[in-house]
Amino acid sequence: MVTKVGTKGKTVAAPRKPWRKPWGAIALFIGPVMIAYAIFTVYPLLASIYYSFHKIQPIGPGKILYTFVGLENFKALLNDYRFTDFAVPNTLIWGAFGPVIEMITATTLALIVYFKVPFHRFYRTAWFLPQLVSGVIIGLVFRWIFNVDWGLLNVTLRAVGLDSLALNWLGRTDTPLWVVIFVHYWATFGYSFILLLAGLTTIPEELIEAAYIDGATRLQAIRRVLLPLLRPTFVTVLILSFMGKMRAFNVVWVLTGGGPIHRSETVATYVQKRAFNWTSLDLGYPSAMAVVWFGVVMISVGLITRWLRGQAEY
């Protein structure tokens, strides 16, 4: 509002110039983001899809040969025992068990800490520590902890007389995958826990107090009030956890490298091997693998979302 001259001191709205959108400024501010994003994220995504239909071989310094092969790579995937018999089942087992265990434990812990047990602040700080540290560090430390001869775990087991349990955790065929799942869980549960705790704290306290006034016990308050209201956060965290397990690389790679003989191979480690650690260099095949797996994960996420969100909206 502007006082226009000559209106006897009354305040009137000055006629405004038609406001033109500041396109220059818009371009200046969001231009760099979108351009950088297009070059380094969108283009590689499209390139991966392009690669998956080709055979890509370096044939000399700086020269790469692209040969169109249509669906060959995808057909080869179905016939590749390392993919169909190890990488995929392992990753799927992980994607099925991991998030379930993580969500149950993280939610329980979040609820416990939410009710402010003694030392709750200490727990919150401590349980987040594994998230701060590189996967390489976690993988190495646990590789040593699980060492069959002098690792912390087996030495402890032998010290208390449980020699029979002091297995060759990383060397047998049946245990490495579970060691991987455990170590990765150790590394990531803190994140889920923190997210769920944050979700709990956004629930207005009056609702819980109202439940108490109505005579609910703590357990009933949890079941009838907190958990339902936590649901959106829960679903988000579940999906994040699921996606994380389906694409996890760092810890697995350092802990077992996918071994022994593929027993802890995941799709992520196998892509790495085919792309950069294989005798015959071809970037098309691992690209096809990555594209297929991305599709699988996205479809799974869609299904999970639909299943969980479709239930009882009140």
Partner: protein
């Protein structure tokens, strides 16, 4: 917290009270045990870093005697290991990536956050940007490797600087945009009256106000850049320009089985982020939970 329930003192209530105490104690024991499992690997890593490999293999539990601080000086400065170099590479890469990401993301957040810059497809563009969070690294890093190879950036630190900076854009832009969208618009009007153009408004008025959000973004991104492994090992097949995680990964392979030194390398790489966290835990958590929580 919860409204206290008043009860009269009866035998049943006293029993219930003792049961509650027992449960509380049990819960505390379980939680402390769990915390132990979380903390022990860190402590062990610290302890073995100041022992000798022979001692570790003999008795992994033993306490350092003597405390071999020289493991660290050896790791960092001995010509065979020269860890100071990788520390420097990590700082270099993280620093420039933070700078690049900071500039682009702050401007982007401003452009996406202020209502005066809204246009028909802005929401769509932002959604497309955030969609990148669904992309696993596997579907990006092979072409990224080829790109960097074509630019001649494999084996340099700049490959990582670029990829880290852009990789962190979705989260950073989202955080900044959310923050900027909550600032009152009177500030821009005031700046406009004072004769500022758009960039002036940004530079002189909004940016200084954005410091808290920028601090969160920087902290969060620093952690991710410092710890990143996949791209680090892909872009640096040769040791010279490797960052800490990449070199640590190759360390045990290249230097046989000197576990004490390896332990020291782990501690050195873990220390910066942990120290920052112990001072700034609230900021960390705030940054990491923003956006994932409805409400």
């Amino acid at each position: 917290m919860a409204v206290a329930q008043r009860t009269t003192r009866t035998k049943k209530n006293t029993l219930a009270k003792w049961r509650r105490r027992l449960v509380s104690v049990l819960v505390t024991i379980v939680l402390l045990a769990l915390t132990l499992v979380v903390i022990v690997p860190f402590v062990w890593m610290l302890v073995i870093s100041v022992r000798s490999t022979g001692e570790i293999l003999n008795n992994p539990y033993g306490l350092p005697n003597p405390i071999r601080w020289q493991n660290y000086t050896k790791l960092f400065f001995d010509p065979e290991y020269r860890f100071y170099r990788y520390f420097f590479n990590s700082i270099f890469v993280s620093g420039f990536a933070l700078l690049l990401n900071g500039v682009i993301a702050t401007m982007g957040g401003y452009g996406f956050g202020r209502s005066r810059y809204d246009f028909k497809f802005r929401g769509l563009l932002l959604a497309a940007l955030l969609g990148a969070l669904m992309l696993p690294p596997q579907i990006l890093y092979i072409p990224q490797f080829v790109m960097m190879s074509n630019y001649g950036l494999i084996g340099t630190r700049w490959a990582l600087v670029l990829l880290y900076a852009v990789g962190a854009l979705p989260v950073s832009v989202y955080l900044m945009a959310t923050y900027f969208s909550q600032l009152p618009s009177e500030l821009e009007d005031a700046a406009r009256i004072d004769g500022c153009n758009d960039f002036g408004m940004f530079w002189r008025v909004m940016l200084p106000l954005a410091r808290p959000a920028m601090a969160t973004v920087i902290l969060l991104n620093f952690m991710h850049f410092w710890n990143e492994l996949l791209l680090a090992i892909t872009m640096n097949p040769n040791p010279e320009m490797r960052t800490l995680p990449a070199q640590i990964f190759h360390f045990v392979g290249e230097h046989g089985v000197d576990y004490a030194l390896a332990g020291a390398s782990l501690v050195s790489a873990a220390a910066p982020v942990i120290v920052l966290y112990l001072f700034l835990s609230e900021r960390f958590i705030e940054g990491l939970t923003a956006g994932a929580i409805k409400g």
